[in-house]
Symmetry: C2
Subunit: 324 residues, 2 copies
């Protein structure tokens, strides 16, 4: 929610000289995205989005992300198309930082999606998975299941500070998640962070996914687990079964799940909750008091872990079978 | 540079239901303006700017400001036209705060304007003064010459903390400014805060003035004094005579100054420097360490006061006579 890098009119002019998109008519810092500095850019040729990548995004990964956005756009998925400069490069440099110009996407993100929007978001997730097939570049999920144990061990003190006894509960969760983690399920490029603030709607239809800066190769159904956590919980911490079923049903309208994927979905969602619990806990610790951007509360995901733990004890989340 | 008030999609929907401008297709917080929360709003009918007024702007003054923006737009000046709701009201309410929708203005502000842009800005200032004539509402300048003595007396400790001996220098400046302050000069509605970040250009032409939240009735030439301070100083603190002359010449192309206005301009500019020095000093003091928005440095205007003091000793800034 902050513009970190301040770009002057002359810096912008110099940067745009490398592109064939006309001169700037509007240029405004946008309070969107926590990781990067984003600007609305309007030229005589249209509207664009300019992103300056701050240190949290690894520069080496940017060709993967920008290439993916282009690939998806070229394969019919509503992802902001990166604009190449006169030399055909998708990635430039502003103030010594990596920077890119992308298409401007219409639509609004929704704070509290209802079941109908969850269905749309599920459909969008499958659409992304299908459109991404064949993308020739690869990026391992460095925040995937194999990374969680190490993360958790480095965060024992922080977990205890959050809630006494929590580090043990987390370790036990990890034992169960690792034991139940599926193998052999279909995978490919996933978004890995498709939260409601990364999805735009117009008139209730999915019109864009943004912020591909965690995209990687992993199980498709794991992405669905991320989505169930992000879209289908109530503010009071309970899982909304109607929304969850709608999310999965929307997904299956575009990409039906195998029996193995369906069976694995509860534990994949539990693991996805672990991923966001651990990274939020790390961000929470790393942020000094009074910082410009307040990190997201790790307790939200501690409660989701508890929901998955309880559901698992009863056989897992019930996501199929009812009307949705 | 900050979005203070966070508006959800449902709050926006409810708010827009009161207007006849279609449904939102884009809604993004904009890092523009220090005093208010600003949003880019795009609907099926066009692009707009939504402003939520934070506590610093007096709610009672908003009808004056919005009425002025409308008056100016209707009299040919490029000011963002406020959009009336279905009941004909320019001012609404969002999250219990005053809020207004205005036209979206094209153009970019310029960080370091050259003499040609200073000429344009001077011309824009005169344009505003002429277009504002006949505006039926009035607002006294509560930060005008009669307010400075009281402000300075309340800020003695802060001035001394900034620079030992400064409070006496300021008091002596005030003696001289008050003694030399002109009477009988033409006046009307002025912008009173037309800094480079409140002016947009496209291809070197003045395309918009924004942020009318200090507008008031005062001497026209005082507004020119504000502009000379804001536009015509170098980063090293020296006055750029070429830019200053260009600013005044641009003004005079639209509204020639009388001999009395020309003669008074140096002291009016000195007084304008006093106004911004004092309010920046007050903001500086009032801002806790580590605050989200860092106030502007009062020392910049302390140096401008010194430039005017020295120029005055030599007969005042030389703004006429040379080529410009």
């Amino acid at each position: 929610m902050a513009v970190y890098t301040d770009i002057t009119d002359t810096e912008l002019e110099d940067f745009l000289a490398g592109y064939d998109i006309g001169e700037a008519l509007v240029f405004k810092g946008i309070a969107e995205g926590v990781e990067n500095s984003n600007f609305l850019l309007e030229t005589s040729q249209g509207r664009f989005f300019l992103t300056v990548y701050e240190r949290r995004v690894k520069a080496d990964d940017l060709p993967f992300f920008l290439g993916l956005m282009l690939w998806l756009a070229e394969h019919g998925f509503p992802s902001a198309r990166p604009i190449a400069d006169r030399g055909g490069r998708l990635l430039g440099s502003l103030r010594g930082k990596p920077a890119a110009i992308t298409e401007f996407m219409q639509g609004l993100s929704v704070r509290r999606p209802d079941a109908a929007l969850c269905r749309e978001a599920g459909g969008g997730t499958a659409w992304l998975h299908l459109a991404g097939q064949g993308y020739p570049n690869h990026r391992a999920n460095d925040l995937g299941v194999s990374a969680w144990r190490g993360l958790a061990e480095r965060l024992v003190d922080e977990a205890e500070a959050l809630k006494p006894g929590l580090s043990r509960t987390v370790a036990a969760d990890l034992d169960a998640i690792e034991r139940a983690w599926p193998t052999g399920l279909p995978g490919g490029v996933i978004h890995a962070d498709l939260f409601p603030d990364n999805v735009f709607f117009v008139n209730g239809r999915f019109t864009a996914a943004i912020d591909f800066y965690f995209a990687c190769d992993d199980l498709f159904a794991y992405d669905l687990g991320v989505g169930l956590n992000a879209w289908c919980f109530e503010p009071d911490g309970t899982f909304n079964v109607t929304s969850g079923r709608a999310f999965v049903a929307g997904y299956e309208q575009r990409r039906p799940l195998s029996a193995e994927e369906r069976a694995a979905l509860p534990v994949l969602a539990w693991g996805a909750a672990m991923r966001f619990f651990l990274t939020r806990l790390a961000d929470w610790r790393a942020t000094p008091d009074g910082a410009l951007v307040r990190p997201k509360d790790p307790l939200e995901y501690e409660r989701k872990l508890a929901v998955h733990r309880a559901a698992q004890a009863g056989g897992g989340l019930v996501l199929f079978g009812g009307e949705a």
